[in-house]
Every structure is written in structure tokens, then in C-alpha cells.
């Protein structure tokens, strides 16, 4: 006997899947933000040797499919480095690296957007290179970067759907399971798509709030 009908428990499954997707999205976004910013700081300090390496890795990660990166980590690493990688670990490693590559580009553009004259003025006043970065560049760069960053994060949320391919029980995988059981693809995938859509809108809305707050000093306040 097959249980092909939808049950109320399916809603719990979907919620679980959404939780896994959002959780991994949050973790990898934060890790990627830290790593990408670190790469940009390396470029800011012009660390010899590391700067071109970082630029190369970022370019490689940006220009290749996430699916292939995922396979490389999930199937390649265990075979080559002889270490065990669980699907969730592989997902975290891959998504973090991929997000970091895009954040690196945004962070570099944000740092470059600060005028040379400001940095020179700050240096003349005796601020160290770190103080310039922390007190002069970072606040302005954050306001500059937040717009592209939100666009990127909305995109990365959708990229998380790929981890279902290596067996992480995220929203897409739950959709695939429900689809196989009920054989009602239209209903299942519409529900899954709707949940992703709402999550994306939520991210965009939070980002918009944050953007308004970060740019309130430079915003036009009227006369």
C-alpha cells in the first residue's frame, strides 16, 4: 500500500527543510562575509604573494558552477585528501567559499570607492593604516557595499538549493521526496518555490532596512 496523499506532517517536513536551508544560508553567509572581507583586507595591505593568490582563487570560484565546486568538495576531497566530508560539511565549505569570492569583489569595490584624499588626510593626521581602515574606510565602505550585498545574498539563498544534490535535507530535497511520494509535481514544486520566494523577499526586506540605517548619515534629509 502506498501513502500517496498529502498529510499534515508534510507541512512539518517542509518547515524542517526551510529551516535547514535558512540555517545553512545564514551560517555560510556570515562565514563568507568574514572570509571575503579578510581577502579584501589582504588586498588592502598588499600582502606579497597572498594578494594575487586571493584574486586568482576568487576569480576561479566566481567563474565556475557551484555544482562542480560542490562535487569537488564532496566527492573529490575524501578521495584525494583521505578525509571524511559529510554532506552538510561539504555544503558549508562550498557555499562559504563561493559567497566569499563574490563578497571579495564587493568589498574591494567598496574600499576603492573611498577617495584617495580622505585616506591621505587621515594618514597625515597620524592615523595608522589599520585605524584608517577601521575608522575612515569601513563605515563608508559598509554603506556603499550594502546594496550589492543584499542582491548577492538573495542570490546565494537560491544557490543553497543546489546542496540537495549531494543529499543535504534542505527545502529542495524535501520537495524531491514529497514529489516522489505523492507524484503531484505541480503542487509540491509550487509550494517549495513559494517558500523560497517568501524567504528571498524576507532577506531583501531586512536588507533594505539595514541599507536605510547604514546610509542615514549620507542620505538626503531635505533642507
Amino acid at each position: 500500500m502506498r501513502f500517496a496523499a498529502f498529510t499534515w506532517y508534510d507541512l512539518v517536513l517542509l518547515a524542517q527543510g526551510l529551516g535547514v536551508s535558512l540555517g545553512l544560508f545564514l551560517v555560510t553567509s556570515l562565514l563568507g562575509l568574514a572570509l571575503g572581507t579578510l581577502w579584501a583586507v589582504i588586498r588592502y595591505y598588499r600582502v606579497p604573494g597572498l594578494t594575487p593568490l586571493v584574486a586568482f582563487v576568487a576569480e576561479l570560484l566566481k567563474n565556475s558552477p557551484v555544482l562542480v565546486q560542490l562535487f569537488l568538495v564532496f566527492f573529490g576531497f575524501p578521495a584525494f585528501f583521505k578525509l571524511n566530508v559529510t554532506p552538510v560539511e561539504a555544503a558549508v565549505i562550498t557555499l562559504t567559499g563561493n559567497t566569499a569570492a563574490f563578497i571579495y569583489v564587493i568589498a574591494v569595490a567598496a574600499i576603492d570607492s573611498i577617495g584617495r584624499d580622505q585616506i591621505e588626510a587621515a594618514r597625515v593626521f597620524g592615523l595608522t593604516r589599520w585605524q584608517v581602515l577601521r575608522r575612515v574606510i569601513a563605515p563608508q565602505a559598509a554603506a556603499f557595499a550594502i546594496g550589492p550585498l543584499i542582491g548577492l545574498l538573495v542570490n546565494q539563498l537560491q544557490v543553497t538549493s543546489l546542496i540537495s544534490v549531494i543529499g543535504v535535507l534542505d527545502l529542495t530535497k524535501i520537495g524531491a521526496i514529497l514529489n516522489l511520494r505523492t507524484l503531484k509535481p505541480f503542487i509540491v514544486w509550487t509550494a517549495v518555490g513559494l517558500l523560497y520566494y517568501l524567504a528571498a523577499k524576507l532577506v531583501a526586506r531586512i536588507g533594505w532596512r539595514l541599507e536605510r540605517r547604514l546610509s542615514r548619515y549620507s542620505a538626503w534629509r531635505g533642507l
Binding site: N63, Q69, L72, V159
Partner: protein, 236 residues
């Protein structure tokens, strides 16, 4: 009696040996060709869909504008893999039986069209209203103005952003491997399973994709510059 392993004893392993791929090059090339075919077809589809949606989004009718905006919003905010499964598993349900390749190209075109329409729309909005007024005064019909003036100008100035859409299409096309299509990623999966050397296979694949998209982006920059050369260096 000593148990016999069904697996061949691994010979002494070289640390990183991409030469194992040599035996599978023609198989991988066939996959790459399939990827290229899917991308070219999907690019054409995206441009057609994108131009149509861009027309709707810049049209005078509010209903049409709204409908086009909803289309773009939905297909940009739902993951491609979900859209793909929707079509791949859903279409047979309503009696449309098409193969994985066609499904993939259609799904790519629809998703790519949403991104392309945004690009083309901003290209249309960037056109100096004076040009359109001049055309109207000259007595050209609406259709002629659109097909002979607005669209060519909009497409030409948006070659570079359309190039990023194309590069995204190439990267996204790897997802077609999840619906049993043996394009480049799909055939690499088979080779990885065949050789037991997934690291070499996927590392090589990563570099191939990166090199290819890099080359495409350079070609697009050159094309963009050439097509807009008379703008006097305003377009870099």
C-alpha cells in the same frame, strides 16, 4: 582462504594526476558540445523572452507592465533547480512529453529571460526620448520605431550586461545534469565514477568552466567596445 577484493588494487598513486582524463577526452568533449548547444539555444530563447518581457515592462498598458513585473519577480526569486524540477516532473503530468534537453533549454530560456529582460529594459529606458520623438515626428509607425530603432539601440548598449547573463547561463547549465542530461558536468560525473578519481576530474572541470567563461567575458568586452565604438569612448 583470503577474500578477493572485487576492486582492483590501487597502484602507487601519483599525487595529482590529471592525465587519467586523457582516455575520456572525447566523451567529455561530447558533453561540452551538449553544454554549448544548450547554452546557444537558451541564449537565443532568453533574448527572445527577455525582449518580449522588456517590451511589456516598458509598455503604456499598466496591466501588461504589472504582469511582466510579476514574471520577472517570480523567476528571479525562485531557485533554478526548483523551476527545472517543476517543468521536468510537471510537464508529463499535463500530457506534454518532451525530452530532458528540450525541458532544460526551455527552463533556462524562461529563467534567463527574466534576467535578460531587466537588462534590455534598462537599455530601453536609457534611450534619449528625443530619438523616439524624432522618429514619431517622421511618421514612423509604433512597430517600426520599436523594431528598427529602440530594440537595436537597447540591445547594442546592453551587450556587456547581456554577456553576464550569458555567463550565468553557462554556469547554470551545469544544473541540467540533475535531470539526467549528460552535458559537461553530467559526463564528468560519469568519468569520475569510472576512474575513481573525482578530485582530478572535478578540479579539471572547474578550471575548464572558469577558463571558458573568462574567455567569453573577454570576447563580450571586445564585442561591446566594437559595437559601441562611435560613442566616442563613453562606453568602456
Amino acid at each position: 582462504m583470503k577474500p578477493v577484493s572485487i576492486y582492483a588494487e590501487p597502484e602507487k598513486r601519483v599525487l595529482f594526476d590529471p592525465s587519467i582524463l586523457m582516455a575520456h577526452l572525447s566523451f567529455l568533449a561530447a558533453g561540452a558540445l551538449l553544454t554549448a548547444q544548450a547554452c546557444v539555444l537558451a541564449l537565443t530563447g532568453s533574448l527572445v523572452v527577455g525582449a518580449g518581457v522588456a517590451i511589456a515592462r516598458t509598455s503604456a498598458s499598466a496591466g501588461l507592465r504589472k504582469a511582466a513585473a510579476v514574471y520577472v519577480d517570480v523567476f528571479r526569486n525562485v531557485p533554478f533547480i526548483v523551476q527545472l524540477f517543476f517543468f521536468y516532473y510537471g510537464l508529463p503530468e499535463i500530457g506534454i512529453y518532451i525530452d530532458a534537453f528540450t525541458t532544460g533549454v526551455v527552463a533556462l530560456s524562461i529563467a534567463g529571460g527574466a534576467f535578460a529582460s531587466d537588462v534590455i529594459r534598462s537599455g530601453i529606458l536609457a534611450i534619449d526620448p528625443g530619438i523616439i520623438e524624432a522618429a514619431e515626428v517622421s511618421g514612423l509607425s509604433k512597430r517600426i520605431i520599436f523594431t528598427k530603432i529602440v530594440l537595436p539601440v537597447a540591445l547594442r548598449t546592453s551587450i556587456r550586461p547581456l554577456g553576464s547573463v550569458l555567463i550565468n547561463l553557462i554556469l547554470t547549465s551545469s544544473i541540467l545534469s540533475t535531470i539526467t542530461l549528460n552535458e559537461l558536468t553530467g559526463s564528468a560525473k560519469i568519468v569520475a565514477a569510472d576512474t575513481f578519481r573525482p578530485f582530478e576530474v572535478y578540479a579539471a572541470l572547474l578550471v575548464v568552466y572558469a577558463a571558458f567563461t573568462y574567455a567569453v567575458s573577454i570576447a563580450i568586452t571586445l564585442l561591446h567596445r566594437r559595437q559601441n565604438r562611435y560613442l566616442g569612448g563613453k562606453v568602456t
